[in-house]
């Protein structure tokens, strides 16, 4: 097997430009790696035929950008024209979209090559990818451990070095939490920074697509491709896109960093806190100012999240009725029988549970008591963050409270899975950008991650701090940029 995909993006780009290698070499290598790692179950669908075809087409094209010809994995809740998109659900098991998501159009325009669709929790509902209809992916660090979720497959394929780039989606931590469990870099951009058009909606007011990569620089490169306003998504921002790599390499001296006390409270495991302590010491040493702050509402964020996310999900998933697309019950006895049987057979247990809870939360007076109230308190959370960002450049903390746990751990406590996201959910509630950076490993050699949160649209600045730490920390053999 060749080892091109272990080189830096810049090196690969030079090789392509100098015609030393062709895109097909990268594609073949990626599939070989995926094949060797098949027991990780990172993919639901591989795009072999089309990827090879595209790679050969690219041979006649000029190498026009740094990501030219590079294989990329796409989470399976992002629609791809002509390529099966299941959202890891039985109800979409045979669904082949007739249009591309905006991010997919952008990837194609940059001549990247979609290698396959990654495994995930069904409709992104879960935090261990074990609700997937296609079985859970495994953590490459320890195959008996969960990958995290819901973007588990994307995190796994990056951690396993199958490809250099993957897309995930993050509603309550679904990029950052598996990135933390698998020891990779994952960014949830500001709500509105990346178009949601073509992402199968879970909770519309929280969902965001983001890049998942092995290192910070690659992450910023991929955000450069997918960020930007989209006429097809009214919630996408018109704010101009920057070069997200532009601050990478700059010093962080004098930067002001806040750590919410809640983020280092007893909910977080001791070893994770210790690793974070090391980072804090390092930051101080390098001239940053680090303060502990109290922030209200952080402990309520999970409850509020459940109300908003499940309420919206119950409505978003209503369209899967067996009439226009997707799996349909064959011989129904009337329309209501079609609905009931299609949805009872098509959805998994967790999805059904969330639809039912969500429907209840929006029923009658409940909408006012729960949903509208949750929206109001959510504004207060945003204000709380805003207050901190008036004084500080960053908020940091751990991404998760523990490291990845066993695949066989029970799934019978539904609220447990939300607790996996207790540190990442507030970021979605406030619509802020947040990034997971690996900062070390635990005693049992599982990755530990930290979260860097910035004010809205400060992704470039987050990459600056993340790249600085990445270089200093030297996680897992260091990174190659040049």
């Amino acid at each position: 097997m060749t080892n091109y995909l272990e080189k830096s993006v810049k090196e690969i780009n030079e090789l392509l430009k100098n015609k030393k290698i062709k895109p097909i070499d990268l594609v073949n290598e990626a599939f070989e790696r995926i094949e060797n790692n098949s027991e990780l179950n990172a993919y639901i669908t591989l795009n072999k035929e089309e990827a090879v075809k595209k790679a050969i087409e690219l041979e006649d094209k000029e190498v026009d950008n740094i990501l030219f010809g590079l294989p990329i994995a796409v989470k399976d809740n992002i629609v791809t024209k002509g390529l099966r998109t299941t959202a890891a659900s039985h109800i979409l098991e045979n669904f082949t979209p007739i249009y591309d998501a905006t991010v997919v159009e952008k990837i194609n325009k940059n001549n990247m090559i979609i290698i396959g669709k990654t495994n995930m929790d069904e409709f992104a509902m879960g935090s261990s990818s074990r609700t997937s209809y296609f079985g859970a992916p495994r953590n490459p660090w320890n195959k008996t451990k969960i990958s995290g979720g819901s973007s588990g497959g994307s995190a796994v394929t990056i951690a396993a070095n199958d490809v250099l780039f993957a897309l995930g989606t993050d509603t309550g931590g679904s990029i950052r939490q598996p990135a933390s469990y698998c020891g990779i870099v994952g960014m949830k951009p500001t709500y509105g920074r990346v178009s949601r058009y073509g992402m199968i909606a879970f909770a519309s007011s929280l969902d965001q697509i983001g890049p998942m990569t092995k290192n910070v620089y690659n992450n910023a490169l991929l955000l450069n491709v997918i960020a930007g306003h989209d006429d097809k998504d009214l919630t996408s921002s018109r704010k101009e896109v920057e070069d997200y790599t532009s601050l990478i390499g700059q010093d962080i001296k004098g930067k002001k960093i806040a750590i919410p006390n809640y983020f280092v409270s007893d909910i977080v495991s001791k070893e994770i806190k210790e690793k974070l302590e090391n980072v804090i010491e390092l930051l101080k040493e390098k001239g940053a100012i680090v303060d502990y702050v109290d922030m209200k509402y952080l402990e309520n964020a999970v409850t509020l999240y459940q109300i908003i996310a499940m309420g919206e999900a119950s409505s978003n998933l209503a369209r899967f009725d067996g009439i226009r697309y997707g799996t349909s019950y064959e011989d129904p006895n009337g329309i209501y029988d079609l609905y009931v049987k299609t949805r009872s057979n098509g959805f998994g247990k967790e999805v059904k549970r969330r639809i039912m809870v969500g429907s209840y939360l929006l029923s009658g007076e409940n909408a006012k008591i729960y949903y509208n109230k949750a929206l109001a308190i959510r504004d207060d959370i945003s204000k709380e963050f805003k207050k901190v960002f008036e004084k500080y450049d960053y908020i940091i903390g751990p991404t998760t409270t523990t490291t990845a746990y066993d695949l066989t751990d029970p799934m019978d406590d539904p609220s447990k899975s939300f607790m996996d996201d207790v540190l990442s959910i507030p970021v979605n509630m406030a619509g802020l950008p947040g990034l997971n950076l690996p900062i070390g490993t635990s005693e049992d050699n599982m990755p530990i991650g930290m979260q860097i949160i910035g004010d809205k649209f400060t992704e470039a600045s987050i990459y600056q701090l993340a790249a600085f730490l990445e270089k200093e920390i030297d996680f897992c053999g260091g990174v190659k940029y040049e």
Binding site: P97, L234, S315, A318, Y339, L362
Partner: protein
């Protein structure tokens, strides 16, 4: 009819807005096309799709709110109405439950010369559903209509008779048609009305049990169905029969209302704010721009026409033919004889347009040409018979009226000398009639006049000829 009970009526109207594209996608908004040809992934509720917002819809809704005298909400959002039905592609409809764009308005109707205000509770924007057709045990879905923009206009329960309901709908239709909000064709479903009615003995009694009549196909059927329902409920109340709140429909063939369903406990639509569409802020500028596009409304038009001496009955007729009325309005600042102009438009020109199935805009008639024609007629240079003769040339050629007249060979005999010569000839050949006239038989003069017209093939100025004839006869 037995009038022991007072009806209380409320009306909900859906009108489809006249936009080029749908409300939340860029598919075409059209009627009568091949099934499912005007659809895209958004209209079909495909996974991952998101709504966009057609700004024209907001403009038309502001226009409608303005002519319905509604207050306009400055900060509004959309809501999701969640219910499962095959005609509802996302199984939620995007509507406005909490913040309707217009509220607290009214429409004035003319009730036997008295003005009455019909109060509007609210008007909101929403998307239409798809059309389902049931045939031989199967249901066919046509999504062309899915996502067509609608406004729903809801009155307060303040309508006191089926006649008022009819007058309200006629007025509403006229207003929305004139403002180009909708083409208001009930037969094509671009205007749809539901009415509800309850009866009580005295004004001071609480409202009776409400019955809703859905999807009534024409304005006259609204009146008819409400009359039938008034009658039916009266009979039941007189017989002490109890009935539940229910939904009925009007059956054309039976000429009566038919039960659709008895209302169960309130539907739970699980409304919540649509997270895919940010709040919409309506600015003064948007309101001003929309108002600028509102033309002179029918009531004012009628008033202006009557001021120009057009008889009320003709003023009404003009307003019913919007194109003719618009054409006449383009002359309002001109000094022409509006009575003649109106008669030409409603008479010969309308007849021509009906016969040829043409619009005025499809003829060669221009404002300038029409003024020329009106002036020729009002100065009696050409007769109404002449108009009929030259009409085809007026409406189908680029020639000026002057050119048409000279081409058609109409000799406008209006000089006294020529007319007198003709009169002399007629008198000489009809001595009997002259004698009759002298004997006091008035009819004789009409006969003689007819002979003059015949002799000149109608091209003589009739008024002038009559006067000269009288003078001549008296001088004999």
């Amino acid at each position: 009819m037995n009038n022991n009970y007072i009806p209380t009526i409320g009306i909900e109207v859906h009108v489809e807005l006249k936009t080029n594209t749908k409300i939340f996608s860029n598919s075409k908004n059209g009627y009568g096309q091949m099934a499912n040809s005007l659809t895209n992934v958004v209209d079909l509720g495909y996974p991952g799709t998101l709504p966009t917002l057609n700004e024209k819809v907001i403009e038309l809704a502001i226009k409608a709110a303005t002519v319905l005298n509604c207050k306009i909400r400055r900060q509004m959002h959309f809501d999701r109405k969640n219910y499962f039905y095959p005609d509802n592609p996302k199984n939620y409809q995007i509507t406005q439950a909490e913040t309707p764009i217009g509220y607290d308005g009214y429409v004035e109707i003319d009730l036997d010369g008295e003005k009455k205000k019909i109060y509007i509770e609210e008007m909101h924007i929403e998307e239409d559903t798809c059309k389902s057709t049931h045939k031989s045990g199967k249901t066919y879905l046509d999504f062309n209509r899915a996502g067509v923009p609608l406004i729903e206009i809801v009155t307060k329960p303040c309508i006191s008779s089926p006649l008022e309901a009819k007058l309200y709908l006629e007025k509403l239709k006229e207003l929305l048609f004139y403002t180009d909000v909708s083409d208001c064709k009930m037969e094509e479903g671009s205007m749809r009305a539901d009415a509800n009615i309850s009866l009580r003995k005295n004004e001071s009694d609480p409202l009776g049990t409400k019955v809703e009549i859905k999807n009534i196909g024409s304005i006259s059927n609204v009146k008819l169905s409400l009359e039938k329902e008034w009658e039916r409920q009266t009979k039941m109340l007189d017989n002490n029969e109890y009935f539940k709140e229910q939904t009925r429909r009007f059956d054309d063939k039976k000429n009566d209302t038919v039960l659709m369903r008895v209302k169960e406990t309130g539907n739970d639509y699980r409304y919540f704010p649509e997270p895919d569409i940010p709040f919409v802020y309506i600015t003064d500028e948007m309101i001003e721009n929309a108002k600028k596009k509102i033309p002179m409304l029918p009531d004012e038009r009628k008033k202006v026409y009557i001021e120009k001496n057009i008889p009320e009955v003709n003023a009404k007729k003009l307003v019913e033919h919007r194109e003719l009325s618009d054409f006449l309005n383009s002359l309002l600042d001109k000094n022409v004889d509006f009575v003649v102009a109106c008669n030409l438009l409603l008479g010969d020109i309308s007849a021509y347009l009906n016969k040829e199935e043409k619009k005025l805009s499809e003829t060669t008639l221009t404002k300038e040409k029409f003024i020329e024609l009106v002036n020729k007629v009002s100065s009696k240079e050409i007769s109404s018979k002449n108009v009929k003769d030259i009409l085809k040339d007026v409406l189908e050629t680029e020639l000026s009226i002057k050119e048409i007249i000279s081409k058609s060979g109409i000799k406008n005999i209006s000089d006294d000398e020529t007319i007198n010569k003709i009169i002399d000839k007629i008198i000489e050949n009809n001595q009997e009639s002259v004698k009759d006239y002298k004997d006091g038989k008035d009819r004789a003069i009409k006969y003689l006049m007819g002979q003059v017209m015949k002799e000149t093939k109608g091209s003589v100025n009739p008024e002038k000829a009559m006067n000269l004839l009288k003078v001549k006869l008296q001088s004999i």
